[in-house]
């Protein structure tokens, strides 16, 4: 179970989602993708993304202006 990082800071809708989708496609089931984003809309969007794709949103946190998401690939 490997962890992978995606820096989506400075990107706006829908780029963080598109880049996350692309990275997840290359991962093994059980792998975790950690995403950092600055788009405030990404909080609702990554929750919706996981609900639609079945991937598991392990964590959604905020540190300063940066939103951090941990997604486990199904």
């Amino acid at each position: 179970m490997a962890e992978h990082m995606l820096d989506a800071k400075g990107l706006n809708c829908p780029l963080p989602i598109l880049k996350a989708k692309k990275m997840l496609a290359g991962l093994e089931p059980g792998d975790v993708l950690i995403i950092e984003a600055t788009d405030p809309g990404s909080v609702a969007d990554f929750a919706a993304f996981c609900s639609q794709t079945g991937n598991e949103l392990l964590e959604s946190t905020q540190e300063g202006d940066v939103f951090k998401f941990k997604i486990k690939k199904v």
């Binding site: 400075g10 990107l11 706006n12 809708c13 829908p14 780029l15 598109l18 989708k21 639609q52 794709t53």
Partner: protein
């Protein structure tokens, strides 16, 4: 009865009829199409009338303040309305278009080329309306290779099976 498996559940799907080809109107269909594809939807875009400009090989959508009655641009720390008569002044549309492009770039918003490429890579199906292709005298080779040609019946054959059908 056997338990329902993932394969039994019909895949989510969406179609959008794309009728407009200016810079501002080009964004919604490509944003929605790429995002839906990322959310595992089968997506079809049906380009007709001015929407055909968005599937030309060279993507260069123009911008006009005309008809955008509620448009405001963020300028000088406030919002400046763009009255329709401004469009009569030579160069105003070009300047407003460049301002829009600069704003898009500065704010980390994807370029249209990027979004269209993402749509192609995520297997968004793109259909150009044959009748309007002929009407506006586009040639097949003017359009991107990924485009299919079809008519209203083709659209309905797809839309009848879609969960979401939009018109932009």
């Amino acid at each position: 009865m056997a338990e329902e498996t993932v394969a039994d559940v019909k895949k989510k799907s969406m179609s959008i009829i794309v009728t407009k080809g200016s810079l501002d109107w080009a964004y919604p269909p490509f944003i929605l199409a790429t995002t839906a594809a990322a959310l595992d939807f089968d997506v079809t875009l049906f380009f007709t009338f001015y929407g055909l400009a968005l599937v030309k090989k060279k993507l260069d959508p123009k911008f006009t303040v005309l008809g955008n009655a509620a448009m405001e641009m963020p300028m000088f720390g406030t919002h400046i309305a763009m009255p329709n008569f401004m469009a009569m002044i030579p160069g105003v549309d070009a300047i407003a278009g460049s301002m829009m492009k600069k704003m898009i770039k500065d704010k980390g918003v994807a370029s249209l080329d990027e979004l269209r490429e993402a749509a192609i890579l995520s297997d968004v199906r793109m259909i150009a309306c044959q009748m309007t292709v002929d009407l506006f005298e586009y040639k097949r080779e003017d359009l991107i290779d990924e485009i299919e040609l079809g008519g209203a019946a083709t659209y309905f054959d797809i839309a009848a099976n879609c969960h979401i059908n939009l018109f932009i």
